[in-house]
């Protein structure tokens, strides 16, 4: 019998922001379970709460209500350092473009998280070579981000996110600053990686290219999930 492994379990998650006397209800009680190996797009218009929800499920922000379990661990009760270490070991992040560290070359950017994990230089070097080859970026190890195109930078960002083999990869509008050709190529690559490695991908987007490639689409409106579609 196959057991289903839940990577994310969000129950009635809420987040309010206060500015002077105005209260903004960014997330109004989202329930969502994401299982291992899913390739899920969180979709919605601007202000629907996509980024806030990603921040909450990744432990970058703390919910005002509800609970988030990531790999069966309640992240809202973790201390600052525990959360940092948890993110380092369990979540790979891909942000919009320009999220590489400019003073580190491609190899250093990719190995950074493994270095935080205390992996040996040999282990890091081997893994960087392997992952850059997968991303079609071999031979670029010594290049600095300023000498890479937007698409190449995002491929390095994916390599960085995957380098430590996390349970979950979260991407916030990963194609926002890319042209449609590059976006499609990048998404195909992410999808292939998802299929090959079984890693769970969750990304927020309002880009139809991304939505089309997703196997599951969760639609948010006004801080609530209003629809959940699983494609065949």
């Amino acid at each position: 019998m196959n057991t289903v492994e839940n990577v994310i379990v969000a129950e009635n998650v809420k987040k309010d922001y206060r500015s002077d006397s105005i209260v903004v209800h960014a997330v109004r009680g989202i329930d969502l379970t994401i299982q291992k190996g899913e390739f899920t797009a969180i979709v919605g218009p601007s202000g629907s709460g996509k980024t806030t929800f990603l921040n909450l499920i990744s432990g970058l922000d703390t919910p005002n209500g509800g609970t988030v379990l990531l790999n069966n661990k309640k992240i809202s009760s973790m201390s600052g350092n525990e959360l940092s270490d948890f993110r380092r070991d369990n979540i790979g992040f891909i942000f919009q473009a320009y999220n590489l560290i400019p003073v580190l070359n491609v190899e250093e950017n990719v190995e950074y998280i493994m270095m935080l994990q205390g992996k040996s230089k040999e282990e890091r070097h081997a893994r960087v070579g392997e992952i850059l080859a997968k991303m079609g970026m071999q031979g670029y190890q010594e290049r600095f981000p300023s000498r890479l195109s937007g698409g190449q930078q995002q491929r390095v960002a994916i390599a960085r996110a995957m380098a430590s083999e996390p349970a979950l990869i979260l991407a916030d509008e990963p194609t926002a600053n890319l042209d449609s050709g590059t976006s499609t190529a990048l998404l195909d690559m992410m999808r292939d990686l998802n299929k090959d490695t079984g890693m769970t991908f969750v990304f927020s987007t309002h880009d139809q290219h991304v939505v089309d490639k997703a196997r599951r689409v969760v639609i948010l409106e006004d801080g609530k999930n209003v629809r959940d579609e699983v494609k065949e």
């Binding site: 970058l60 940092s84 270490d85 942000f95 560290i101 935080l116």
Partner: protein, 413 residues
């Protein structure tokens, strides 16, 4: 650690022009601190030299209480033992013996109360600058009469003016003979007229060979004062207690120039205080410059810090990165500062400030003031800049460590 050091070093050169300008500002500040130190050392040495080398010497030994009254009966005890000890002392460069007593000097025109010094005409030259201060006539000629020009007296230019005498004129010195308690009077010819630019010496002192003074005062071989000069100009101020302990015995009192000329010591302390305040101000300016640069660099990279924190960098590691960046900036600036500082101190050591004849704090500058190299200028001051920079970087580092990750990730330039 090594990884963050590498990142920090690369980060400070991301904006080369800004880093160079900041480094230059800090470097100029450091160079000015180094130069101020060097010129103050030069000025202090010049002032000490002016006071000690004109007549006082670096240290003196008297019988306890002699200086309060100039009582001619208070002569130094165990003179031979003292001289032998001083001659064997490795810190001592030269010594000379003197007698000193109140008396009068009279010419056909005037009479004045003065201090009559009996000096060892040969040894005195290695301690004081009386010989160099002669403006008319000559110093006691060591070639004549076994080093002592009997019947000759050296007087100050202002005293000569008052007495209306010139070289070769006769004057009469009178003093009390301690053996007989009678007034002893001797006639002398003015051999030389000096200008020491110390008012006291130029108006109220006369020098005669020590043997004549001892005979006139009935002292036999006894003396009132032993003046000492040290090999190291700093020795007197740094080893004052040591010197006093070694030679203040049998009723004698050994003192170095800070005790002999306390007003000079106070003036030098005041100079140190003013320089200290100036340095604190310069340090403060430098430090605010550093904080400004660090915050500017921090605000530009908030998104980057957000990414670093999101991917699992602990707040402490981010703080470490900022502190390393500050340390790298301090190191870079210190190299610029030390190079600039060395150059201007070197120039100052060759082309000094000519304040010859200017009186300051009771001392008259007798030589050009040059900058003086000291090891601390190259170690202590850059180290202080480095430590202060690292210390002040804790503030922006704390700020970076506490910033909200989600807030930081919203910031893009």
């Amino acid at each position: 650690m090594k990884f963050y050091l590498k990142m920090a070093w690369r980060n400070i050169f991301r904006n080369r022009k800004r880093t160079f300008l900041t480094g230059l500002i800090i470097g100029i500040g450091l160079a000015s601190i180094m130069f101020t130190d060097a010129i103050v050392v030069g000025m202090k040495e010049n002032m000490i030299q002016s006071v000690t080398s004109s007549f006082i010497g670096d240290a003196q030994i008297h019988y306890e209480g002699f200086q309060d009254s100039y009582d001619a009966k208070k002569t130094i005890e165990n003179r031979k033992q003292l001289l032998s000890g001083l001659q064997q002392d490795e810190a001592v460069e030269s010594i000379t013996e003197r007698t000193a007593g109140f008396g009068t000097i009279s010419s056909p025109s005037d009479i004045n109360s003065i201090l009559i010094y009996g000096i060892d005409t040969i040894r005195e030259r290695s301690i004081s600058k009386i010989d160099e201060a002669i403006r008319e006539g000559s110093y006691f000629n060591p070639q004549e009469d076994g080093g002592e020009q009997f019947g000759g007296v050296l007087i100050g230019s202002k005293l000569a003016e008052r007495l209306e005498v010139k070289v070769g004129d006769r004057i009469v010195l009178s003093a009390t003979n301690v053996k007989t308690d009678d007034l002893a009077q001797n006639m002398f010819r003015v051999a030389g007229i000096y200008t020491m630019q110390i008012d006291e010496m130029d108006t109220s002192a006369a020098f005669i060979p020590i043997s004549q003074a001892q005979e006139m005062l009935g002292l036999g071989s006894r003396v009132h004062e032993i003046a000492v000069s040290f090999k190291d100009v700093q020795y007197a101020s740094q080893h004052s207690d040591e010197f006093a302990a070694a030679y203040s015995k049998g009723g004698n009192k050994a003192e170095t120039w800070p005790q002999l000329v306390p007003q000079m010591k106070k003036m030098l302390d005041l100079t140190d205080f003013s320089v200290g305040i100036t340095m604190i101000i310069v340090f403060a300016v430098i430090i605010f410059g550093i904080i400004n640069t660090l915050f500017m660099s921090l605000y530009e990279r908030i998104f980057e810090f957000g990414v670093l924190r999101a991917v699992g960098t602990r707040a402490a590691s981010l703080r470490k990165l900022i502190v390393f960046e500050a340390a790298s900036l301090a190191l870079y600036s210190s190299v610029i500062g030390v190079l600039l500082g060395t150059l201007i101190i070197y120039i100052g050591s060759i082309h000094g400030m000519n304040l010859t004849g200017v009186e300051f704090a009771g001392a008259t500058f007798t030589e050009e003031i040059n900058t003086v190299f000291r090891l601390r200028q190259f170690i202590l001051h850059p180290l202080l800049i480095f430590l202060f920079t690292v210390l002040v970087s804790l503030y922006p580092a704390r700020y970076a460590g506490r910033m909200s990750i989600t807030h930081a990730l919203q910031k893009t330039l």
